[in-house]
Symmetry: C2
Subunit: 434 residues, 2 copies
């Protein structure tokens, strides 16, 4: 590369526009920080006429974003198209094969084909950087890959989807139901018209798979992530959580266990006194536990034009300054194949809520079923009786540490009881020391 680093931006949505604006607004500062001038030379976007808030004269416009990756006047390709296939993949692959570095915010792509891209990058002596793909502006990738490079990581936990965290926070603060808060979030623009990707946990799972690869030195393995979203979280369970000293969060958790790595995105109860439980609203957080650092929590904005542009530009500056780390922390050939921990082997406390007809013998049946499967009860909540005898009452159990196999078996047995007025709710409880 020359004194000037030439950037091609594929995709001029909010993040692309934010990146171009940042580079122009902070031109001198950026030059000071990487020792070179960074100039956008080429762009690609569907609509050429839209006003994006910056001057486009002098830029080469491409109809086909792939052509940016073939442009000799581009050193670094910034891929902001999105999606794990099609154009985004082509843009990254062609750029790397042409000896260009790539910076991307594409979590779906990195989560599903990241290891492949790392190999292509290394074979061509360039890198693909993706700080913006996880937790927006929070430098979580850099923290794991470099800042904690001396640690064997035991667990990485993330609040990785701002939409879900906003919905759960609002449900708790206002005692409202999921559907209600979601509809409002959609109206306010905090949630997409089709919220599936967010509320069903897929977006968080993409990010978790990337973090897990970095944390444990494994090839990214998105299919290993067990995913459950927040649609089934009820205002009632949030209320009980509060009473028991917990918060319900949609957490991505990847942890090293004796038999492999467990990766899961699901609603989880966490102690109210922990740092991660206090991350509210649209904020994201990543908590990392390592054998030397103890625990580290990073909290900030996980999305949006400006925070994401901040991450994209940090990657560009590192590349321009020649600060290149292996894509997933270690050389691609040193990444291990993921050994998946069987989810059945998960072990921890559980929250179990039943809605039962308030009749004699019901509790005896439930507690007998728990005991039969070796599930030990730490506490139980039942407030008063139903208004009319024989009405429905919620009954809540918190268990001691229990194997998921035993818990599932007990739950199956309890679910079959005629005393249930609706299916039981089971939520994992996760412990944090800080």
């Amino acid at each position: 590369m020359n004194e000037v680093v030439k950037i091609g931006v594929a995709g001029l949505g909010t993040v692309g526009a934010g990146t171009v604006k940042l580079l122009s607004e902070h031109r001198d500062m950026v030059t000071d920080r990487c020792g070179r001038q960074i100039v956008v030379t080429a762009v690609s976007a569907r609509d050429r006429t839209r006003d994006r808030g910056f001057a486009t004269d002098g830029l080469t416009w491409y109809e086909d974003a792939r052509d940016i990756s073939r442009d000799d006047n581009v050193d670094v390709v910034v891929e902001l198209i999105g999606g794990s296939n099609g154009i985004a993949w082509d843009v990254c692959k062609i750029a790397l094969e042409n000896g260009k570095h790539v910076v991307t915010a594409n979590k779906a792509l990195m989560a599903t084909r990241g290891a492949e891209l790392a190999r292509i990058a290394e074979a061509n002596n360039v890198t693909i950087a993706y700080e913006a793909a996880v937790a927006g502006g929070i430098p979580a990738i850099k923290a794991l890959r470099e800042g904690l490079a001396g640690n064997a990581v035991s667990r990485v936990t993330g609040i990785l989807n701002g939409t879900c965290n906003y919905i759960l926070t609002t449900m708790r603060e206002q005692g409202r139901d999921f559907a209600d808060v979601l509809a409002e979030a959609q109206k306010l623009g905090y949630a997409e018209a089709d919220p599936t990707f967010d509320v069903d946990g897929i977006d968080a799972a993409h990010k978790l798979a990337i973090l897990a690869s970095l944390a444990f030195g494994i090839e990214v393995d998105f299919d290993a992530v067990a995913v459950e979203g927040i649609r089934k979280v009820s205002a009632l369970d949030i209320e009980y959580a509060e009473e028991l000293g917990y918060r319900i969060k949609l957490l991505g958790i990847a942890k090293q266990t004796a038999e492999g790595i467990e990766q899961r995105v699901s609603p989880v109860m966490v102690d109210k006194s922990t740092a991660i439980s206090k991350v509210e609203g649209v904020f994201n957080a990543v908590a990392i536990e390592g054998d030397y650092i103890g625990s580290l929590v990073l909290e900030g904005r996980g999305a949006g034009e400006r925070p994401t542009a901040s991450a994209v530009v940090a990657d560009i500056i590192d590349i321009a300054a020649g600060r290149i780390a292996p894509v997933f922390g270690v050389p691609a050939k040193r990444l291990r194949k993921n050994v998946r921990a069987s989810l059945e082997k998960h072990s921890g406390p559980y929250y179990l809520r039943l809605m039962v007809w308030d009749r004699p013998g019901v509790m005896a049946g439930v507690t007998a079923a728990l005991a039969k499967h070796g599930v030990s009860v730490a506490s139980m909540l039942q407030h008063g009786r139903a208004e009319t005898d024989g009405g429905v009452v919620p009954v809540v159990f918190v268990t001691h540490e229990t194997g998921e196999g035993a818990m599932t078996a007990a739950l199956a047995e309890i679910s079959a009881f005629e005393s249930n007025s609706q299916p039981p709710v089971l939520i994992r409880i996760e412990s944090f020391t800080a």
Copy 2:
């Protein structure tokens, strides 16, 4: 440097020993992460016979730590002696001048002579890295220098001294006084026998000066930091803070103002709902506000053998991998001289507590003095009357945003009133959006 990176460790206290242990325990992982083998070849410590928990055969021992910096068999010198003068300075300077990189945990040295060291490093084409000097294991230096490199930072705030945070947390939780909790902390080993450096804010000020240099691209200017410790924080003010919705924290705050940079370490009231207010006990935190990222909070362990060793080794790995950033984010010659904001020009809300004889006319006098200097009162607290008429009652005012000059003038006038049974207490209130 060769395939093997040779490390000389000057100072084998807890952090030095932790560093050697980490490098040996995680040898293969460290090699994977930087592409080279890292080997400790030389050490220096006063007592050669002490058992430090690792094998010392094969290591070159030096009586005089300076000799490590002259050893041809050392590529990187890790300076863990401490102190801003004497041996530590010599070790760093000689190493840099001999073309060796330096890694240090020495905040006093970096805060007082950091700019000089950066110039020496650059002149010799090596670097001096100091992640371990600020907030222990938290990668705050890396976050500011690289992760947020695309941001104009407006404010950086830190809970930078675990001893103070532990004392303030315990005072609040247990309603106890400073002296009492300090004595206990000393007994438990959380505070030094001579606690001056910690409780008077000097340690935090060293760290803040370093963060400010990175955040604002200025030559580190420790003398510019206004320092006030926690000795005068009373259980009563902590209680009032709680009632008003605040927590009292010893914060290091460096911010860009219209007329220059304000740097201050002092007890501050912060809203209870903010992330920084929730950092409790021995934990440290650094909050950074930038124009693109919004806000970022990093929280973790700010001291101790293992977290600090984690930071030292992260620096070693970066150096071994060739990932070198300018010492304070930009080349030393591009660092600006600090322009100090006059502390008088500080502007913000204030907490003012008086202990007054409960007599007619007292409140009229105080409120008239505030009004005279243009200090506008946002709220006032006075709970009941003294048990006996004419007794002493605490009266608390929270002001609207006020210039420090006006506040100081009003305070001087009020302090002279005969109605005071003891001197008034004034505490700044600092606002955070996240």
